[in-house]
């Protein structure tokens, strides 16, 4: 294996080494949060957390636990850097999308530390590519201060039913309104577009509804342009949890199974658009 021909000296200089037999297990999940160009990487003993933010109102996080990687070595408590996500995705998929079963790109991602580029060793079919991507000082991700104790309403749905609704959303509507209530309409997505308004209602006893915990009626509006990209994460996921807190902040958590059946998480936080009178 060409990747293992690096000398011990090379390996010693890295403060983070993460290897995958199938680079898609990383690239797919990163595509689900690729709203903007820049991503903040934060690696700890537990694994990798990648954050992307949009206009201070939306934050998307991808979590890839340490045990997903075939090799995961971290020499400090926390390693952080920022890279251009578009470039990173281009490198991870540098061999093109291979549809031949059994053929995949192997990845070893290495980082020497502050000031050094992120080095990627990618191999497919005996061909090795080395990519070095410049890193930047990591920005501090916004803390949305969303904690479980403050959650007012929570539902967990099977993604299939929500996928259909999201694909049909009226894009002429500037906002997506989410209503959660212990009584009718239970869980409702609404749009207000040029031709009129539309409502998608999910009853609490639907077989697509895995969990329904709503304590009080809440209606919040979120900018459609911010939430529409979450469709990518939805498409990859099998289940999604939707939570709102007392301030109306929205948390969407997606359970994603990668190519090897392992579980990863993607999460979106979004601020409400404006105060809305409860209907």
């Amino acid at each position: 294996m060409p990747l293992s021909t690096q000398s011990q000296a090379d390996i010693d200089q890295y403060i983070l080494i993460a290897s995958l037999d199938n680079a898609r297990n990383l690239s797919n999940i990163l595509k689900a949060i690729s709203l903007r160009d820049h991503a903040i990487f934060n690696a700890t003993q537990n694994g990798l957390k990648v954050t992307v933010e949009d206009s201070k109102c939306l934050q998307a996080n991808a979590f890839i636990q340490a045990d997903i990687f075939q090799e995961y070595i971290i020499k400090e408590d926390a390693v952080g850097f920022q890279v251009n996500l578009t470039v990173l995705l281009d490198c991870l998929t540098i061999f093109g999308g291979s549809t031949v079963p059994g053929v995949c790109t192997a990845l070893r991602m290495c980082y020497n530390g502050y000031g050094y580029p992120l080095t990627l060793f990618l191999e497919e079919g005996g061909v090795v590519t080395v990519c070095k991507i410049n890193t930047q000082e990591p920005e501090e991700p916004i803390d949305f201060d969303f904690c479980s104790t403050n959650v007012t309403n929570k539902v967990i749905l099977q993604s299939d039913s929500l996928k259909e609704a999201f694909s049909e959303l009226d894009m002429t509507s500037e906002v997506l309104q989410i209503t959660m209530s212990p009584s009718h309409p239970y869980f409702r997505l609404s749009t207000f577009g040029n031709s009129g308004n539309a409502h998608y209602d999910y009853p609490k006893d639907s077989d697509m509804m895995e969990l329904f915990q709503c304590t009080k009626i809440q209606t919040n509006r979120y900018k459609m342009s911010l939430l529409k990209p979450s469709t990518k994460a939805l498409a990859l996921s099998c289940k999604v949890s939707v939570r709102t807190d007392s301030r109306g902040f929205l948390s969407l958590q997606y359970l994603v199974r990668n190519d090897d059946g392992q579980i990863c998480f993607v999460e979106y936080y979004c601020c409400p658009d404006e105060e809305v009178e409860e209907e």
Partner: protein
């Protein structure tokens, strides 16, 4: 007003709306005595379509109290309600259309699997009743065919084709693309399909006719008819009167009314079938008929540009058709300009010249006649 459509009828409703969207940009909805009418018209008012759904189409049908409800709305808004047409019958159990006049909204509710409820409140505008004037019963010509026949026929024409010409005789139907006179007419590809009356479920031609209408709007009906499997009826008269296409079953009737060109004045576009065409025989498909000699004799007699040269008696019946082309062209030369004549003859020249290897038995001397034509540059053999 409160109507509920269930099961497969939801998809039929969605397809009807989709068909109407091929005609115009707005959907006109009207509650009439016979049921619910969905109509559309194009911007130039040359195409009109109406789907009449009887109360029996619906599981529940409650007409508006005053029986005079009508409205119009952008058809795209209604199409948006029925997205993902393909999976509609699998996912939607029931479709309810309600009028909430106090809010000026038409509410369409789709009850889907897993308890999912999709509600669309569409705003509408008041409008006049939209109704084209037509009378199917008074049309002299009526054809009826299975939708598959029409779909397969229309398949031969490019999707970009605007207008098509339909000609009927006592036992045949021709469908051709219609090409306007002008610079493009010489370069245009002409497509012609001939169908025998036997291919139709019903064939009643009062008088030999030729009408030209827009193909694009016809396709809208064909898509609907094909998916429903209902036979398509065509009613038409002389050029200028509209052609009416219609499909119907016990609970639904659709009529597409298309205007026709008022005068079909392009002689090169169609062979006048009755006068020149020998009735019984099938016209050969190509010019390379078995007997080259007689073929060449026919060519000999059509020396350009003289119309005065009367062709000698056609030696074989198989040649009659080509002969008639030539005759016709010569007759019309007095009326028509040069180009149509030249075009026909250039077609003949291209096909008449065999390579020596193909027809070793043919007499070469006859090619001398052709050699006189200055257009021909391929002439290699001389006797």
């Amino acid at each position: 007003m409160d109507c509920v459509a269930t099961g497969g009828n939801v998809k039929v409703l969605a397809k009807a709306i989709h068909s109407l969207s091929r005609i115009g940009e707005e959907l006109y909805l009207e509650s009439v005595d016979d049921g619910l009418a969905l109509r559309s018209v194009n911007s130039s008012r040359s195409a009109f379509a109406c789907f009449l759904l009887s109360p029996l189409f619906f599981q529940r049908y409650q007409a508006p109290a005053d029986h005079s409800f009508r409205c119009k709305m952008p058809i795209k808004s209604v199409q948006a309600v029925f997205k993902s047409l393909a999976s509609l019958d699998r996912s939607v159990e029931k479709c309810r259309i309600q009028l909430k006049s106090e809010k000026s909204r038409l509410t369409i509710t789709l009850h889907c699997k897993h308890g999912l409820l999709k509600t669309h409140n569409l705003s509408f505008q008041d409008c006049e009743s939209l109704q084209a004037v037509f009378d199917k019963e008074s049309c002299a010509n009526v054809l009826q065919a299975q939708p598959r026949l029409m779909v397969d026929t229309v398949l031969h024409f490019p999707p970009s084709l605007e207008e098509v010409n339909l000609s009927v005789s006592s036992d045949r139907v021709w469908l051709r693309n219609h090409v306007e006179d002008g610079a493009d007419s010489l370069r245009a590809m002409m497509t012609e399909l001939c169908l025998s009356s036997e291919e139709f479920d019903h064939f009643s031609v009062g008088s030999q006719t030729s009408v030209t209408f827009c193909l694009k709007e016809l396709r809208g009906l064909l898509v609907f008819a094909d998916s429903s499997g209902l036979p398509v009826s065509m009613y038409f008269d002389e050029p200028g009167s509209p052609v009416i296409l219609s499909v119907a079953d016990s609970v639904l009737e659709a009529n597409f009314v298309l205007a026709t060109l008022s005068e079909d004045s392009h002689p090169k576009n169609h062979v006048n079938p009755d006068t020149k065409h020998p009735d019984t025989e099938q016209p050969p498909d190509d010019f390379m008929s078995d007997d080259m000699d007689s073929f060449l004799i026919a060519m000999e007699s059509s020396e350009l540009p003289g119309p005065s040269h009367v062709p000698t008696s056609p030696p074989r019946p198989t040649n009659n058709r080509k002969h008639s082309y030539i005759e016709e062209e010569e007759d019309e030369q007095a009326l028509a300009d040069g180009p149509p004549n030249k075009k026909f003859c250039s077609l003949f020249f291209g096909s008449v010249l065999p390579t020596p290897s193909q027809l070793p038995n043919q007499t070469m001397p006859s090619q001398e006649v052709l050699a006189s034509d200055s257009e021909d540059e391929n002439q290699t053999e001389t006797s």
